[in-house]
Symmetry: C2
Subunit: 443 residues, 2 copies
């Protein structure tokens, strides 16, 4: 991509309306544009990142055998009346009347709709378990939308649902998602910790929030620091191995605010390991048995008996993750972002110093650009006449993990190359390609 | 995928509520499920097909240099008041009041929103042209939703927008999309003809609908049959070549109902070439100059002068295409669907005859299944105990283009193999793989 042809509207300064760093950065480098309160458009840079995150989330769902479907954004109020949540949900639900005055709503979550799909499709216990997910826009009419896409109204979310015959099977499904989420966040280079959490309007009695530490987080958390060392790498997708993983985590105290008990915390966590801080929720899983299946009559035939299926639900905030990763990785003191290469909008940026009436650096740059693209390295080149130091500053903000600078220090066939924010080295194009390809492989 | 684990709820008979074949087939093989009037959930089979179509549409947009973004579904009424369309649009617009009583709406189209994004981002003519697209859910509150996803309320659409300095440049952009659409529909194995069309509520004076012939179509069309022979293969992405392509099409009379003039038709088309029939609109492109840029003040600085940008918009109905392809390809007399392999939910189906107490065919089938997957052939295997002929009937409806039957006629290492609906041959697995891989390559 040529920067001059791209749609990346950069702001000179931090926008005054943004108070947290993800919101500042996303507006500043033109990743998003607000269209109305709590509602955003995703411009090419932000869009590419979100799509790559979506794809990682998708792959990790498929890997544990969840099947992808797609439910609509607009739902009928009927099914919410069946479950009893239509009145309960409150003003965060965007209620709509269509031209025939039918009561509709913009789905804030999909337990009712998926239960309706299940009950009309599956009749026998032999078809269980069923694990289904979709990745779709949702709407919660926040009273005070803020922090950009972190607490917005229209947001992009992966939500999955499990259907099982017994409590025991259902917990196996729950634990599959538990592992899947650890894998997902690890691939995004986030250290996300599962914490016992309240179930809120979803219901049930077993729930974990997956939380990454961040000063700007809205969740208060209390944990034993040793939980950061628990490793899920060798866990396999069977009941025993997954129970073992859950137990490894549950050895350590880790709860959100609503579950906090000072006495428990101090009894269970030696003082040197106590950590009370803030975090950002990036995933949330729930087990709620027959909370929806019973009122909505979603049952299977099991040896001549009608059994209400046992359900869980599992959410990852896909659009929110874009902001969460910025909160975790953006060095706002030095104004340097560094995207993990697997989700970066481009893999390498070429930044030539271009003087009026002297195109030699631009020509060099275009040659390298062509070569990198042939090597399947997705590259952007700044072909504008902006001055060299502002270009570098701009690309430090954009956060593409590798930079090739073509300025006065380039010698012959060697170019100034660096990982973003690191020392530059003079290297040949061939060596540069090797380094980038190697980084892609291990990520 | 094992059929027994899949979420493919098959109906025994055609559902009585469906009157056209795409609606019948999609409900019958569990591609979709209606959630309320004109609103559908996409189950795994339908979802996979729609995603593959989406990806082809995306690739052909990227190929002509359009950049992908994503606008939200919910828009503020403010921008529609600026353009003057808020009152005009009528009851098909789903109007919403949020908890603060602000007037919002579910976007039926995005000319206003993209113009708002453009005007706040681009200031100089040097950044032109800008071509942007997104693929997003839209809502039109049809009075009588019908024909399944062909005339529904919530639908998935690719819409693109172009911004240029001059009329001449803008027509170049228009013609790029003209070519891109021909390429897109060709990849989907559809013979879609561009027809001069009315501009309706989008506005402007130049417009083409891309229409495929189908008895169940809602568009009445009048054309010269020779237009089906026009070829776009050698067209290049430059002004001259594109104008040449447009001229090749415009030699032949081809209009939709609203543009029809009996006298013109009969004067311009020799009787033997006259065709008046019905079709399905799968794409629509518009050129409307400064219709939106002027009232919304979207201009660039051109040599010290303020110029309102010249705009066009370009839509492809992604969800509708699923139905349109069924209308074009489904043989409802023989109950055989045949998906083009590039968008088929699976590439091969293995159908073993399974008797109670005899697993030998299933074991053979599982071995072939494993081998095909290793060869990157996406395969589904019917491991259920349903009887052999119903299985075959079911897979004829599902429409996966290749079938391997493992019944009484299989001999040694040779299996009954066929393209769907064609004669079966006894072939080795290696030969089967060759045929499928070859078919994938040329598609």
């Amino acid at each position: 991509m040529l920067f001059s042809k791209s749609f990346i509207p950069i702001l000179k300064n931090n926008p005054s309306e943004a108070v947290i760093k993800s919101h500042q950065l996303m507006l500043r480098v033109g990743m998003i544009k607000q269209s109305s309160a709590g509602i955003y458009s995703w411009l090419p840079l932000g869009f590419k990142i979100m799509k790559k995150i979506e794809q990682i989330v998708r792959e990790e769902q498929n890997r544990i055998g969840v099947q992808e479907i797609l439910m609509p954004t607009i739902q009928s109020s009927e099914i919410w009346k069946e479950s009893g949540r239509y009145e309960d949900y409150g003003e965060e639900m965007l209620r709509i009347k269509d031209r025939q005055s039918r009561e509709m709503l913009y789905g804030p979550t999909n337990e009712e709709l998926i239960t309706d799909i299940f009950r009309s499709s599956i009749k026998s216990y032999k078809s269980l378990p069923q694990l289904l997910y979709h990745i779709q826009w949702k709407f919660r009419d926040e009273l005070r939308p803020r922090f950009g896409i972190m607490r917005c109204r229209e947001f992009f979310m992966k939500d999955a649902y499990s259907f099982d015959l017994s409590d025991d099977d259902a917990k196996f499904s729950y634990n599959k998602f538990f592992l899947s989420y650890l894998r997902t966040f690890k691939r995004l280079k986030l250290s996300a910790i599962p914490m016992a959490a309240d179930t809120g309007p979803i219901g049930g009695n077993l729930s974990h929030e997956f939380i990454i530490l961040a000063e700007t987080g809205e969740s208060k958390i209390y944990t034993d620091k040793r939980i950061f060392e628990v490793n899920s790498e060798k866990t396999e997708l069977n009941k025993k191995s997954l129970i073992n993983l859950r137990e490894k985590y549950e050895k350590y105290y880790a709860v959100t605010d609503e579950k906090f008990n000072k006495n428990d915390f101090e009894t269970n966590v030696p003082e040197e390991f106590r950590l009370s801080t803030k975090g950002i929720e990036v995933g949330h899983i729930f087990y709620f048995g027959d909370k929806y299946s019973k009122p909505m009559n979603a049952s299977v035939d099991y040896k001549g008996k009608k059994e209400f299926v046992k359900m869980g639900s599992y959410g990852v905030g896909v659009s929110r993750l874009v902001g969460a990763i910025i909160e975790a990785k953006y060095d706002d003191k030095n104004e340097i972002m560094n995207w993990p290469i697997s989700i970066s909008p481009y893999e390498c940026a070429i930044i030539p110093l271009i003087n009026k009436n002297d195109n030699s650096n631009l020509e060099k740059a275009l040659n390298i650009y062509k070569y990198l693209n042939e090597m399947n390295i997705d590259t952007i080149i700044d072909d504008t006449e902006e001055n060299f130091s502002s270009k570098i500053k701009k690309f430090n903000l954009i956060g593409i993990p590798f930079q090739i600078k073509i300025g006065k220090k380039s010698e012959g066939n060697l170019y100034e190359f660096s990982e973003i924010g690191e020392e530059t080295k003079n290297l040949s194009v061939e060596d540069i390609v090797k380094i980038i390809i190697n980084k892609k492989k291990i990520n």
